[in-house]
């Protein structure tokens, strides 16, 4: 197609979009309801600002204006309880659309958007924060679409914009506003960029175009994963012989509004929808189409694609219900069963007041229509509160039934929360239900007998057992002192042996030899080595003697000729006993066979001694 023709086609398309937008603006207003008395579920209400970088570099990064297309698609994916606005910035603010301006104004601004100038994200974020309302309990988020770092004509302006951005991000974090950043461009950049601080400071997230999917996919992910909107992915249903270029999708019954968003990575071409509803409209983009239905009466929608080659399409559905909770109560009284004892003693019966509650969700516009009647709700668990206490109910035959004790309560205040994949419930809660207490029958009381007998013999028995245990402990203490009384100090502690050098440079695992518990007297090093399975030292090892000394020491005597024994850095004189205390080290070297052993003398803790015993 020649360039001039292309330009014309583009203008035509733009004009067409604008016309469609203007024609449908009226309907849109009816969608964006502002009913302040209505209680929203968490996912159904909120405020979202699109913050778009319109600097000149976007001309190359976003050549086909996919960012603008993605914003439009997101705008029509939001439930009606969500309010959205827009701030576009380059060197200055190019456009700011308030939350109340509606989709029409937002569409107009997006249509006129031009990519030029520098990147003043600081001012952009500042303006975006100012657009939010001051109310409490509203989920507020910003989606920032940008292709790079803050940049201004001179360093001073750049620094000032960065600092403004930082301050605004901190303010957003303080107000609980989360910033989700979509980095436009095909190449993953440096994750440490200043612009990404906004996401980090507010607990948001950074997404890279390409790595995290296409722009449309990313924005869709933000809605479902971050804003927790219950968009339900749906697939087409086709019967045998049906056209391949048509989609048939089942619609949930009873919904007040339904949104259906179709997305594709390729150009979608014209799409038409067939369905019966009080009103319906189609919004088209290059790669998306959205259908909005008000009070649909048919249970299916048929979508026809006019493009010859059907592209791969993902579809999402969001149903909205305007519901009113109805609660009724039936109060009853019941006499509690008395024990034989109580009957004998003529104790007056006690009565239990209880109420049988029944909860239904009806269409706010048509109270005769119970929204829980369809079969899909049968057995569904629903969370609700009763006088502030959280409960779980199960829908059976279109209603939840529960019985509660009503002795101490005069009324039942019920709030219901509905969570359903692919649906948002706007619920007007029921008025408190008054619980009428039925009068108790009169009873004349009889005298009460309270004979109480105590058993003290058991206590005496317990005392006797304690006394016996005390005796046993004394006997154990006597045993441990036995060897000391005899006058010969017992062995204590243990030896850790490390063969530092062996014949043939073998590596021999460390060994432990427990001295504690051995009979007092001498033990040769050879015996210790043999016990550990180490055939080292031969006769020489037999001449190194170890005996217990005072204060938990060991007396080591070296009588061997072809070896050296060291205590720390001190060489032991032959045939002289040296005391070795806990945590000291002996090094024994046998010359003939060229082996060397390090022996660490270690204490045993009382608990380790018990293990040995």
């Amino acid at each position: 197609m020649p360039a001039a023709q292309k330009r014309k086609a583009k203008r035509f398309l733009a004009a067409g979009c604008l016309l469609v937008t203007l024609l449908l603006a009226g309907n849109l207003r009816s969608f964006a309801r502002e009913d302040s008395s209505r209680a929203h579920t968490a996912a159904g209400g909120g405020e979202l600002i699109f913050l778009l970088d319109t600097s000149v570099s976007m001309n190359s990064q976003d050549q086909d204006r996919a960012a603008i297309e993605a914003i439009r698609q997101t705008l029509y994916s939001l439930p009606s309880g969500y309010r959205s606005g827009l701030v576009a910035y380059h060197t200055e603010i190019q456009a700011a659309v308030s939350l109340d301006a509606g989709a029409e104004a937002l569409e107009q601004e997006l249509e006129a958007m031009e990519y030029r100038g520098y990147t003043n994200a600081g001012e952009g974020l500042r303006q975006a924060l100012d657009l939010f309302s001051a109310g409490e309990g509203v989920e507020r988020s910003i989606i920032l679409l940008t292709d790079g770092e803050i940049d201004m004509p001179d360093p001073q302006q750049r620094e000032s914009s960065r600092s403004l951005y930082r301050e605004a991000a901190e303010e957003a974090a303080g107000k609980g506003i989360r910033i989700y950043i979509v980095a436009i461009g095909t190449k993953p950049g440096n994750p440490q960029m200043h612009i990404f601080d906004g996401a980090e400071a507010t607990g948001g997230a950074v997404y890279w175009e390409g790595v995290s999917g296409s722009l449309a996919e990313i924005l869709n992910r933000i809605l479902t994963e971050r804003l927790n909107l219950p968009l339900k992915e749906i697939s087409q249903e086709r019967s045998a012989g049906e056209r391949e270029d048509a989609w048939r999708i089942s619609l949930p019954s009873g919904a007040s509004r339904i949104r259906l968003v179709l997305m594709s990575e390729e150009e979608l071409g014209p799409v038409t929808a067939k369905c019966q509803a009080e009103s319906q409209r189609m919004i088209s983009g290059k790669r998306f189409a959205a259908v909005e239905l008000e009070r649909p009466s048919s249970d299916q929608i048929q979508l026809c694609f006019e493009k010859a080659a059907m592209p791969a399409i993902s579809a999402y559905l969001l149903a909205e219900y305007d519901a009113r909770i109805q609660a009724t109560a039936q109060c009853q009284i019941r006499e509690l069963e008395r024990s034989t004892e109580e009957v004998k003693k003529n104790i007056p019966p006690r009565y239990e007041h209880f109420a049988e509650l029944e909860i239904r969700a009806v269409d706010a516009a048509d109270p005769e229509r119970n929204l829980w009647d369809p079969e899909r709700f049968e057995g569904t668990e629903v969370a609700y509160t009763l006088n502030g206490e959280s409960r779980q109910g199960v829908i059976e035959q279109g209603r939840i039934r529960t019985t509660i004790p009503a002795d101490d309560i005069g009324q039942a205040e019920i709030t219901v929360e509905m969570e359903e994949p692919g649906a948002v419930w706007y619920i007007s809660q029921a008025d408190p239900v008054r619980l009428e207490k039925l009068p108790e029958p009169v009873f004349s009381p009889e005298p009460d007998y309270r004979p109480l007998w105590g058993i003290l013999g058991l206590l005496a028995l317990a005392l006797a057992i304690l006394a016996l245990r005390g005796r046993k402990r004394d006997a154990a203490a006597t045993d441990t002192l036995q060897s000391a009384v005899r006058g010969k100090p017992p062995f204590s502690g243990k030896l850790n042996l490390y063969v530092v050098q062996s014949r043939g440079d073998e590596d021999i695992p460390p060994q432990t030899y427990r001295l504690f518990g051995r009979a007092p007297g001498q033990v040769s090093l050879r015996r210790i080595l043999d016990t550990c399975g180490l055939s080292l030292g031969g006769k020489e090892a037999d001449r190194i003697r170890i005996s217990p000394g005072t204060e938990h020491s060991l007396i080591v005597t070296d009588q061997a000729e072809e070896c050296t024994v060291m205590r720390g850095a001190e060489i032991l004189r032959k045939e002289t006993g040296y005391p070795v205390y806990y945590n000291e080290k002996l090094t024994v070297t046998f010359y003939e066979e060229g082996t060397e052993i390090e022996i660490y003398y270690k204490s045993l803790k009382p608990s380790e001694k018990e293990e040995t015993g």
């Binding site: 994750p191 950074v206 203490a477 063969v499 530092v500 050098q501 938990h552 060291m566 080290k585 270690k602």
Partner: protein, 726 residues
């Protein structure tokens, strides 16, 4: 009284980073007759082996891969240890640092995944693995050459003698130096040659929209009657664009060629022209006639060679990269901006098997006797990390003497045996060092594997370490972290080139012609992250950052911080991104049944309305069990802390000082601890208490430390003997 130990997170890593650098054994030296090391020796060890950041690891250990060419089999050989007998001029040293493309790619992957908070199944690994393809290497060079051309242009514009010209010349020198890193190394030139050949051969190729006429460059002009025409341009370089650029570019081409010749003794014309074309592409592309057959053959052989060498490089370097990433992850757990008790790591730079040898272990004992058994706690080692432990619970050290002939098994050569771990644990228990260990990191020990196979596998593997005196100090960390999963680790380098029937050069579409390398998965041992997060939790500033100033005492370390308690694991999270959607309830029940191990979880959770996208700590237990449950690791550390403070405060456990230590006097240590029990990092928290009894017979003081109602005993020997001796 009123002692506080200011350092409770020194970690000892039992791994080799660079065998050419000093290691723990050689630095400690001969310890015959020594019970402890001198202060000078400790300083020397710290100077060589102690690090406080990842960059310091790179600086001190300079992890390097050695590369040389084997002319017999025409292959490139990579080795982690310096090959002996290869002259230094034939050897290329490739430093592994942040600038290394493979290392950079993996670090970007962790950063990106963390920022995005995406689980493995959704993460587009191929977008980042693509970073090591020749095309991306060329992209990076394109960026550099833009700057080089611009700076050279500025330089050429200025008159000689202008002082500004000298400044720019300095800048140019630095840029030439960086560029020369590419052209003084044929391996680095390969991706450039591949892309250069491809660019010249496929000039005019538009992918699928192939026009089967050979390309003739042309100029856009207007005909006599105003029609647009594309005319073939004359072969002489007289276009305006070329002449304008020539002044600058010709000078730059000459400068690059001169530099190449100066740097390389044996220069060749092809590489000289390639260097010039790569770094200054504008004016040189039409200089020479293209010989298609030769160039296609060259291209294919370059690509083949590049693939083989990249394959060999990755196979060699992967274990080292995994260690480096592990260290990086350890330090990443502590925020860079904080200035408190920054975790420090002592890298032994020696293999675990070597350190655990009977002949060497006394060096470790002597070192720990110096750092952990004195009343100076500056260099006390509190934690150790032993990654890559063999999954075979009966694995023996290769150097161990075999007394009886057993079944021979094929063993992995680079894993740490359970026997060597046992030997180390036996030493660590005497010095109160908690040992975080993790099993060999591969696709059988990941979050995915744990989610499908359960925890029993690890319980079985740990059985030989349970019920031992050192069990309290053994902390099995599971599962290991996945940086790139095995099944997503393929990197397409490019396709072979062929000449088609129209005598046109094109990239082959055949599957067998696609050159692909497999990284085979990159994993990081859980022990690094576990030690990293627990080391970070020791710092009061870190805890304040997470829980607010009011809840944390600014003086006390985080030894009593129980990461499992309350919402602590939601607040103190690792910096690693979630990997999977979570464990099933039955797996979690299995873990909770016995409270086994230091277990990480990748769960969907929210804290204060924010979705958690990081991996959290699910359990923090060691291998000491009362038969039903394993014990939380904080109890061991508090006990070691109390023992050390007590040793210091009571003059090595003098009986009268012990009494004073536990007295009700407000200035006693116990009273001071009790006064701070409201703090998250109080040594004694709510429900805790400490009492003592003196065992006169054995000369022991037995402390009953109550943790939230459960009593743990600490036995310390009373210093009566030494008093008597004196």
């Amino acid at each position: 009284m009123g002692n506080v130990i200011k350092q409770t997170n020194r970690t000892m890593l039992m791994e080799v980073i660079n065998p050419e650098k000093p290691d723990f054994l050689s630095l400690v030296g001969d310890v015959r007759g020594l019970e402890s090391l001198s202060d000078d020796k400790i300083k020397e060890i710290n100077d060589h082996l102690m690090v406080r950041s990842f960059d310091e690891v790179i600086e001190k250990f300079s992890p390097t891969v050695y590369c040389y060419f084997n002319a017999n089999n025409q292959k490139v050989v990579y080795q982690l240890d310096k090959p002996e007998g290869v002259p230094s001029e034939m050897l290329t040293e490739i430093p592994l640092n942040r600038q290394n493309e493979f290392m950079g790619m993996l670090m970007s992957m962790v950063d990106t995944k963390r920022a995005e908070g995406t689980i493995n199944v959704d993460f587009k690994f191929e977008k980042l693995t693509d970073m090591i393809s020749p095309r991306k290497v060329m992209d990076a060079i394109r960026q550099n050459r833009k700057e080089l051309q611009y700076t050279y242009g500025e330089y050429a514009k200025l008159d000689d003698g202008d002082p500004k010209k000298l400044d720019i010349a300095d800048k140019l020198n630095v840029m030439f130096e960086e560029a020369s890193a590419n052209y003084n190394n044929v391996m680095a030139m390969l991706p450039l040659a591949i892309e250069d050949t491809k660019t010249r051969l496929l000039l005019g190729d538009k992918g699928d929209q192939k026009d089967h006429t050979s390309l003739a460059l042309g100029v856009l002009s207007m005909g006599e009657s105003g029609e647009l025409r594309i005319l073939e341009s004359p072969k002489v370089e007289t276009t305006v664009l070329a002449t304008v650029d020539d002044h600058v570019n010709m000078g730059l081409i000459e400068a690059l060629k001169d530099d190449y010749e100066a740097v390389n003794g044996e220069s060749n014309e092809y590489v000289e022209a390639l260097v010039a074309r790569t770094f200054c592409p504008l004016a040189s592309t039409l200089e020479s006639q293209i010989d298609k057959e030769t160039e296609v053959a060259n291209y294919n052989s370059y690509l083949e060679f590049y693939k083989e060498s990249k394959d060999a490089f990755i196979k060699t370097v992967k274990p080292l990269i995994e260690k480096l990433l592990g260290i990086w992850c350890y330090f990443e757990q502590y925020p860079k901006k904080l200035k408190g008790m920054r975790p420090s790591m002592l890298v032994t730079n020696i293999s675990n098997e070597m350190l655990a040898k009977s002949s060497n272990i006394s060096r470790l004992i002597t070192y720990l006797n110096t750092t952990n058994a004195k009343n100076d706690f500056t260099n006390t080692v509190w934690y150790s990390v032993v990654p890559n432990v063999s999954l075979d619970q009966y694995s023996r050290m290769k150097l161990t003497r075999e007394r009886f002939k057993g079944n021979s098994k094929t063993e992995k050569s680079d894993v740490n045996s359970v026997e060597s771990l046992t030997r180390l644990l036996d030493v660590f228990k005497d010095y109160g060092v908690q040992c975080f260990f993790s099993y060999e990191a591969d696709d059988s020990t990941t979050f995915n594997a744990l989610a499908t196979e359960g925890i029993e596998k690890y319980e079985e593997r740990c059985a030989p370490l349970m019920g031992k005196s050192f069990s309290e100090y053994a902390i099995p960390c599971v599962p290991n972290f996945t940086i790139i999963p095995k099944d997503k680790s393929g990197v397409v380098l490019d396709s072979r080139m062929v000449i088609n029937s129209d005598d046109m050069v094109e990239l082959s579409k055949e599957k067998e012609d696609i050159m692909k390398i497999w990284i085979d998965g990159v994993y990081v041992g859980a022990s690094y992250v576990a030690a990293g997060i627990m080391a970070a939790c020791q710092c009061p500033e870190y805890l304040m950052d997470k829980f607010g100033r009011a809840n944390v005492d600014p003086e006390l370390p985080g030894v009593r911080f129980d990461i499992e308690a309350d919402n602590h694991s939601l607040v103190v999270r690792t910096t690693m991104a979630k990997e999977i959607t979570g464990f099933t309830n039955s797996i979690k029940n299995d873990i909770n049944r016995k409270n086994f191990g230091f277990v990480f979880s990748s769960e969907n959770a929210a804290y204060k309305g924010y979705d958690i996208t990081n991996i959290m700590v699910y359990k923090a237990r060691n291998l000491m069990s009362d038969g039903y449950m394993f014990e939380p690791i904080y109890k061991t550390q508090v006990t070691a802390y109390i023992e050390r403070v007590m040793r210091h405060g009571t003059g090595d456990f003098k009986e009268d000082s012990i009494v004073q230590f536990f007295s009700n006097n407000p200035s006693s240590q116990k009273s001071q601890w009790l006064a701070k029990r409201e703090f998250l990092n109080g040594i004694l928290c709510k429900g805790d208490n400490i009492d003592y009894t003196i065992d006169e017979v054995n000369g022991y003081c037995i402390l009953d430390i109550t943790f939230n109602g459960n009593v743990k005993n600490l036995e310390v020997e009373i210093n009566r003997l030494s008093a008597n001796k004196a």
